[in-house]
Symmetry: C2
Subunit: 139 residues, 2 copies
DNA sequence: TAGACAAATGCAACAATATTGCAAGTTAAA
DNA sequence: TTTAACTTGCAATATTGTTGCATTTGTCTA
C-alpha cells in the first residue's frame, strides 16, 4: 500500500486495511471523476459488496470522499479536498453530469455561492449540478 | 374527477383514467412540495405499484410533473408550471430539501442562472439544490 | 351509439440498490 | 503479547425500479 494512501487513511482516522487501500487507490486514480458502487464492484471483483458499502460510508463520515448529487439512479462519490474532516465537509463546488457518457466530475473551479432564500429557511449546503455534454463527448 | 384535473390531463394529451385522476389530485394538493413513489403508494393503497411508476413516467413525459434532483435516495416529483409541455420542460428553479422533516419543495422564486463552464462542456440543464432546515422546522 | 383500435392497467417475474445482525478475523494500542 | 475495538464476510431482508404479456379501458370514427 503506497505512502500517500497510508497517510490519507491515518489523517482521517481510518484503520489501514487491504480493502480500504484498494478503494482509496481507485478514487485517487479517478481524480475529479465520481465513482458509483457498481463501478467499484467491477474493478474489485473479489471485494464483498456489503463491505464496499460500509467502506464508502466510513470514507464519507471521515471526510475522505463526498457524495455527489446527480440525476442518475445510483449514488456517486468523489474524493474530497484536504480541508474535509470527520467534523465538517467543505465541498462547495459544482458537478457536471454528462448525458452521453454518464460520467460525473467535480468542477472545483465553480464554487456554489450564497443564495437568498425565503424567510425562515436556513441553508446548510448547496448542490449545483450541471447536466449536458462533457468536453470528451462533444465534437 | 374534478374539472381542473380533467382539463390538465387533456391539455397534456393524457387519457383520463381513475388512477391518473387520483395521482394528479395528490400533486395538486401537494402544491410546491415534491412527492416520492412510496408516498403515493401509501396514499393510494389500492393502486398498483407498477402502474404508479408508469403514471409518473407518463406525467413527466407529457410535461405535467418534473423530477426533482435531491440528496435523498428515492426519486421525487413535483408539479410543473403551465409552460411545460411534452416537447419541453421549463423547470429552471431551485429546490429546497429539509434535513429535519425530509420534505423537498420547489422554490419558484429562485431561478437557475447561466454559469460559465470549462471549454468544451455544453450545459443543457442546471439543478440547484439547497439543503438545510425549512421554515416549518426552524424555531 | 356501437365497434375498432390504441393505450393503460394489473400481475408475475426479475434486476438493481441498499440495510441490518452476527460470528469470525484483523488492527491498533497498551 | 494481550486486549479491546474495529472491520469483514456472509446470510437474510428491504427498498427501488424494469420488462413482458394478457386483459381492460378510453377515445375516435363510422
Ligand atoms: Mn465533488
Ligand atoms: Mn420544482
Ligand atoms: Zn461525456
Ligand atoms: Zn422541514
Amino acid at each position: 500500500m503506497n505512502q500517500t494512501i497510508v497517510e490519507l487513511l491515518q489523517r482521517h482516522e481510518l484503520r489501514k486495511t487491504a480493502m480500504r487501500g484498494e478503494v482509496l487507490k481507485i478514487f485517487l486514480e479517478a481524480g475529479k471523476q465520481a465513482i458509483t458502487h457498481p463501478e467499484l464492484e467491477q474493478r474489485l471483483p473479489d471485494a464483498d459488496r456489503i463491505t464496499l458499502y460500509r467502506t464508502l460510508k466510513a470514507f464519507e463520515d471521515k471526510g475522505l470522499i463526498h457524495q455527489v448529487v446527480d440525476s442518475g439512479n445510483a449514488t456517486k462519490y468523489a474524493l474530497c479536498n484536504d480541508a474535509c474532516t470527520e467534523h465538517r465537509h467543505h465541498d462547495e463546488h459544482a458537478h457536471f453530469h454528462c448525458n452521453d457518457c454518464g460520467k460525473t466530475i467535480c468542477l472545483d473551479s465553480i464554487t456554489t455561492s450564497t443564495i437568498q432564500v425565503p424567510r425562515g429557511f436556513k441553508v446548510q449546503q448547496t448542490h449545483l449540478v450541471l447536466e449536458g455534454t462533457c468536453n470528451n463527448c462533444e465534437n
